[in-house]
Symmetry: C3
Subunit: 681 residues, 3 copies
């Protein structure tokens, strides 16, 4: 039996709707319904921060306003994603039960305020959220409008209160059994940091323990597990009462670079949600990169969030214009909203949902872009562009559920990122693990080659090429897996700063791990860390390429040397190698390069593997082509991420679902222009 | 009956004198009296930080030293401004009554130390300061030396202790009556921030509530009111016992840019003082701007502090050489002290008072410039320049009480500044409201056109031109006032980022306020926020002008389009407009420009309004001419703010009060040179 | 009778060894012994952070593992420096006695963690450390392996707990006797900061008192004295039980510039240790300075640590490759370890000891360079370079105990540095007292002229030239001493920012101190502080030299004017002066210059004093020659601090102890190459 979301045939278009802010403005609530129709939206996410409205005082619930709005939306054909409101608690709750508030890492008790400021351990907070969730589940489980539960909002952060300390110790006991095992794993005797009793263990703090990397790493693992544990408590009523309504919670990305969210291991969390959804806020039209460079980063992160569940995901939040929390909040130029929406779909989203439907009138998010502006007008530019996107989504709704087929995978591991960032050594500023993956990814994005961004615990066997740079923390299992992958015919790319520590952040001793030596046919003698202005270069395929930041000094064993250093005391020694291992091949990139090398390097591999098979299309740089497919058809999303007209040559004839025209031969795609071409199978 | 200050015919020259630091050095105290005569000073401000000397232990007062010094000063013709010492409490007070110390916004109790570290609510602090003030008032109210009370010192800062929280709640109850009104005004339901009880409200905190702009704004209002409330408690003895001695407290400016002090609404506070005084510390001779550019900022802030009370003010503190708290503390070059003193007078000051008379021997201000240096010498360069200023002040003392006549007003609103700075959205770094006003002001300063810098609650009817850019927060009353002003023949200039929110920081809904649409004859469709490196340009009067940061996308209604954008998706749309409304005209500047546009723009208006009427003078850039006048005469301050000789052409003959010569025809003003020319009426 | 260290004839080679981290890895402990032989090391420092291993629970000691390791080392010819482990306490200690942990300046109680986080006042901490030290002293005092005690580790930091506050008050009472004396010394009446009772005094705090410079300065003095007091408590068992084993503790340097450690007055502390040892970590091969420029700074700091005790010192820690706590941790290039080791010896070290012998497997220092890497291999490049250094040390071991003879002294005073850094005034960023000394020092280093870096309390009579710039804080005693030095024929160089305050940080009043006027034959009228981009210049010996930051405006008295300003309002006034005073000469440098002036300036003095007497050697820039000598011979360390071959011309024949060849005539020293030439007396 399909669940209620699967029964929905439309791509979701709509977003966060907070009528609880407007209950005093009945005319606005009425306008909303009319405007929803004009905007071609079909799905509203309700109740995200409505706790105060739903339970104005302890135990006194008020659902009537919500009943009415859900009915109104449903009555005009809309659907509802219903949220649990645990992301922000009412003032009465903080006042009555101050223990629900967080303690920060300096052991300061936080005051009531802002949001996401609740302890994940607090029994009373768990009790109160679950009680409300029961009410919600009971009341709305059978409402035909409801297609999904949206649990809380953007989970994140951590609490260091006594209860969390105690839970951390329980978590550790469960993992390590004895305190001696903890001391061994965390290299206890260093600086005399040996624990003689569990009660001595406390979470990392800038005014206490902060030098024990094993502790830091386990604390981060605990924070993910404790967050999930809280989430499980939240969803219990939903699972019990509404097994047919799928559950999600909205994930995030971090920083201007759109790297994966750092505070939680989403690989673990993603197993807990029925469908992954996330909030995507790229800084389009910024002044430090080209549109196409940013688009490549958008591709990377979406491919990760699609790949870790290997299924289509939802964009739970995006903005039709600007946000309010970047340093500079610039509006999307005309056409960008269509283009950027299509890109999200192209990489696997089955929705375009906004934060938010209508701009708030007050408080800190009142200038965040929304479908309906303060002018309350359907003639607003942004409103009209949203409406156009709604039209287009309707035309291409058949893509719902379709997937992407990738022969290339890039490995991203949360724990590796945590450990490497925390590592004392090398260069503080130039670790850049996720950014390095983005640079490798960009090559393939530029060539319109589909990539899965997966973790090392996922299946590798279906990929022709697996790219795993900077695997600082790598388990023995992962090394074995890599070896098997290569032996069975896979092509693996590794790099500098790999193979240093195990899952406890303890270094491998006795030299570079033997399995890696076998895989790559080399040994690593030293890692040279360079100052920001230092440069070296490598000779590769008759050309010279600049390198920076890190240079691995390599002892060649079975490998073939493809590139050598041109300077410094390791001049003429190997920098790029290739190793045949049974049926497969492994490449090792010893130094951090620029894009020019990456292009040259992968050009050879791609040609050899013949994984560039978009034969029907000749397109210039800046135009991205991404494919989704299902049993019946392939869908080619062709997107111009430049501010210029671009010529696309198309060998066969294709039907453009959006313009509803046949496209063939030489075509000019306008700036930010798109096609969604369908090819029946 | 005139008060004792009005009876003083001299311009005040002198400053802060802290003999309580030197009671162990009788020879220094004697030297002081001799040096005062040589320095041509006439007024000493006494007792600012003398609490420990006046009340060495609780209830034990010691006024003898002060009696003697006041007598000594008086006996040689001097006058005294007597301070209340509440700016820094004795150690015994903090020790006996720790509740007098502040709690910071992180809810940390501050320790005794530094200064200005006292709670404005503390009953015991109020009691103790008032008790001492009674003693002072009783003892000195009839002393003929005393011409003014100087209450405390540079009021500022805030306290978040439980008492202040309670007072804040009382203030809110008084304003809003019901908690429901608070929730409405602060947009409570956003992030579930609804209060169900007054006791839940706490002041903003970085570890608590910080996202509710209405709360932030009301907290700032409360801080001003609570400071004034404390001040009223302080002055009670003075008002009771010495009604004929006027009262002031010294105001400040903020940052290197000399923008209006941000922590208190001086418009409100200024109503509480009999005469406004302030502490003026420009960073002359810095390495980031020309002398004349800084001089224009000095003009701006002094014109504000003159205009908000519409009367002459006092410079309560300035330095004859350098300060000690800038990043770089460079001494005034020869001539600069005379020039900069004359500028302060030219803009409305009736005093040049220094911090301080004599450099301290120890502690943190010992290298702050002073009249008497550690060398204790009358041959010191700074001492001689002070003495020369004293001579000049004596020659021009007839200007005392004279005012400036301005046909141009620029609007500065503290609450608008607070709200705009706090706004989440647009660009964090480029709000620059006060700096933008300075840029408009500079045009008029360069053209020697007198400007009043007023708040929007002041009378507009006397101005030919009112400039009100970036009125982000604007009340309906202010909009009506602007409309009336224009309808009655006024010329109004407005700009981008105007008309967004009301006094609760709630946005106007239903589009740009209709009153503004009527005034400017336009509607605002969007505000485009640009990245720092982004540039657009506008075509205006056949020329192209660069714009940056903000571009308003304008729908023309009745207005005439004067300028259009030259780029981006709103190319060719209106950027500069002009609207006739009954008898008046309104201009709208849609984008942030550079000085070149501002010059071109105002040139036209000034010519039309014929407000540039200095017909007798032809002077080059960098020479400032400011006029004060009274019933008998006009006084032309001509000041060369450049490092070069400048030629001034003067059509008529004028008497220079300083050189005591007739000045006429072509004259060369040396670097930093000045004239004070008198023209009888 | 010589002590056990003096009986050791070898230069110490080895370093920190932490077998307590490896007790679970018996094969590693075995490898260590074998590798020590191969590495040519002879001395291991044991037990630095071994408290948890030595006393796993309160009162239960375990020395067996340590016994065995000491025996093993001794049995293969090694020696041991035995540490007391107070630098990091076990978790059980913090848990049982939380009072041992520090309170920071914000009065926050620190949590257990990191290291060096213990209160120097805590009676229980003193009791526990002393108890363990008794055990160590009793057990090992007669072990023939032990040659030295290494007390704690890198003492530093401060505690603001109630006990420390009380001790601070006792310290103040002892110094000042009456609270009135404190008020006088600290300029109490400023800002009403008068104390009426000792109990009101608290240590400086960013949330309390921070504006009283006298308090700040006395607090820093107290911190040094309290640290020494703690150290004396620690060494009591050693002095009692093992009078023949000398005692040291490892000192440090600060920042990338290698300036003297700022938190403690090492001049005082050095009197408490039998031999000074320190931890030297220059950032070789960085990207902001030439190798030779950094080498000059390394020379400066080592010459200071040699000169304050006027005897050879030990390098207790250095790295054979990189550290892990710089921003960028770059490995030493081949040859650099030999070169940099030889430089340390050349400036007076009798050891090359490493942190650490073997890289940790876990926790925060696992990537700090060490002799044995994670590869556990004798073929590691770093291991081999260490082994080569060990060989060389053995060849030159006869230098042990030899000293340097300097005719030039540069004065560095810790208290002057503290006071100047704390001074409010001048320019915050450009104080740069230690850096200025480094610039003067560099001239002599470049010319291969030996320099002692001493404090002003040391004997000056043996120097031909004493350089004392920026003596902001100078006592009357020091001024008298300087005067006597000059009168008796010395040559003294002083500069801007001198003679401003006495030992209480109170300014001299009545002008620049008369003794200084007499010494320099000038008076100081003003100190002009410039903005970073401001430049002036001086004319000196027919040439023009740029000056910046500070310009003293000088009134010439008896002095001869050597240089005059070329710009600003003091154009043509004296900037560089020379004064004959009885048998000696004093120079005054009025402004901050660049290296070009310093070179020109000292060239004349050096020629006049004939203190450049390396007649046998002609060497280019970048090659450093340093001499150590004893009764029998002189040892010339010739070191190429460039990345190029350098020609050295040597008039006579010398035996190179390292290559064991005769060196004479024209020789080419390879990049980073060294000679250690012996000349018998």
């Amino acid at each position: 039996m399909k669940n209620v979301y699967e029964n929905e045939k439309r791509l979701l278009h709509g977003g966060d709707y907070n009528p609880d802010q407007w209950l005093d403005y009945p005319e606005i609530l009425k306008d909303d319904l009319d405007l929803m129709k004009l905007a071609n939206v079909n799905t509203m996410t309700l109740g995200i921060f409505a706790w105060s409205a739903l339970e104005p005082s302890e135990g006194n619930y008020n659902f009537e306003w919500l009943d009415n709005i859900i009915d109104d939306i449903y009555n005009q054909g809309g659907r509802v994603i219903l949220a649990t409101p645990s992301g922000a608690r009412p003032a009465w709750l903080s006042q009555t039960y101050p223990e629900v508030l967080r303690t920060n890492e300096r052991r300061e008790k936080m005051l009531h305020g802002a949001r996401h400021n609740h302890c994940f351990s607090s029994p009373v907070y768990r009790e109160k959220t679950q009680a409300l969730n029961y009410k919600l589940a009971q009341r709305y489980k059978d409402h035909p409008a409801i297609i999904m539960w949206h649990i809380s909002n953007e989970y994140g952060g951590e609490c260091h209160c006594d209860l969390c300390q105690e839970n951390f110790r329980i978590w550790l006991k469960d993992k390590y059994k004895t305190i001696d095992n903890v001391n061994k794993a965390w290299w206890g005797p260093f600086w005399s940091h040996t624990y003689s009793d569990w009660s001595q263990i406390e979470s990392p703090s800038s005014i206490g323990e902060n030098a024990v990397h094993g502790l830091n790493l386990d604390w981060k693992r605990f924070v993910t597990d404790q967050t999930i544990n809280f989430y499980r408590n939240e969803i219990k009523p939903m699972r019990e009462l509404s097994p047919n309504i799928p559950i999600t919670t909205n994930f995030m990305a971090d920083t201007d670079d759109l790297i994966p969210f750092q505070s939680l291991n989403y690989e673990k969390f993603s197993k807990e949600v029925d469908i992954l959804s996330w909030d995507c806020y790229p800084a389009w039209h910024n002044d430090w990169e080209r549109t196409q460079d940013l688009a490549s980063k958008v591709g990377f992160i979406n491919d990760l969030y699609r790949s870790i569940k290997q299924k289509p995901f939802l964009i739970m939040e995006c903005t039709p214009s600007c946000v309010n929390w970047h340093n500079v909040n610039k509006a999307k130029r005309p056409g960008m909203h269509m283009l950027s929406s299509m890109q999200l779909l192209a990489h696997g989203s089955d929705s375009i949902l906004y934060f938010q439907w209508r701009k708030s009138r007050g408080s800190s998010e009142k200038f965040h872009g929304a479908v309906v502006d303060h002018d309350n007008s359907k003639d607003n530019r942004v409103f009209k562009e949203v409406s156009k996107v709604g039209e287009a989504l309707d035309k291409i709704k058949e893509i719902k559920g379709s997937m992407k087929e990738s022969k290339v995978a890039i490995i991203y591991d949360w724990e590796n990122d945590w450990a490497l960032k925390d590592a004392q050594g090398f260069s503080k500023e130039s670790k850049r693990y996720p950014q390095t993956l983005q640079e490798h990814y960009k090559y393939f994005w530029n060539k319109n080659i589909s990539v899965d961004v997966i973790t090392s615990s996922q299946d590798l066997s279906k990929y022709s090429l697996v790219i795993a740079p900077m695997m600082y923390l790598i388990t023995e299992d992962t090394m074995d897996k890599f070896r098997n992958y290569v032996k069975n015919g896979g092509v693996l790319v590794g790099s500098y700063l790999s193979g240093l520590v195990n899952e406890a952040d303890l270094t491998y001793i006795g030299g570079w791990p033997e399995v890696l030596q076998e895989i790559y046919g080399i040994d690593v003698a030293e890692t040279d860390t360079l100052y920001p202005k230092d440069r070296n270069s490598i000779k590769f395929k008759e050309e010279s390429f600049e390198v920076k930041d890190y240079c691995t000094i390599i002892s060649k064993k079975e490998a073939e040397v493809l590139g050598t250093y041109e300077g410094d005391f390791y001049k003429d020694s190997p920098s790029i190698t290739r190793n045949k291992l049974e049926l497969g091949i492994s490449y090792f990139i010893g130094a951090r390069t620029n894009d020019d090398f990456i292009e040259k390097f992968y050009d050879g591999i791609v040609e050899e593997l013949k994984i560039n098979d978009l034969e029907d299309f000749i397109s210039p740089e800046g135009v991205s082509i991404q494919i989704r497919e299902n049993d019946n058809a392939k869908y080619y999303f062709i997107m111009n991420f430049t501010e210029e007209n671009k010529n696309i040559e198309i060998t066969n004839s294709y039907f453009d679902l959006v313009s509803e025209e046949i496209i063939s031969g030489l075509n000019t795609l306008e700036p930010y222009g798109i096609y969604v071409l369908k090819q029946n199978k």
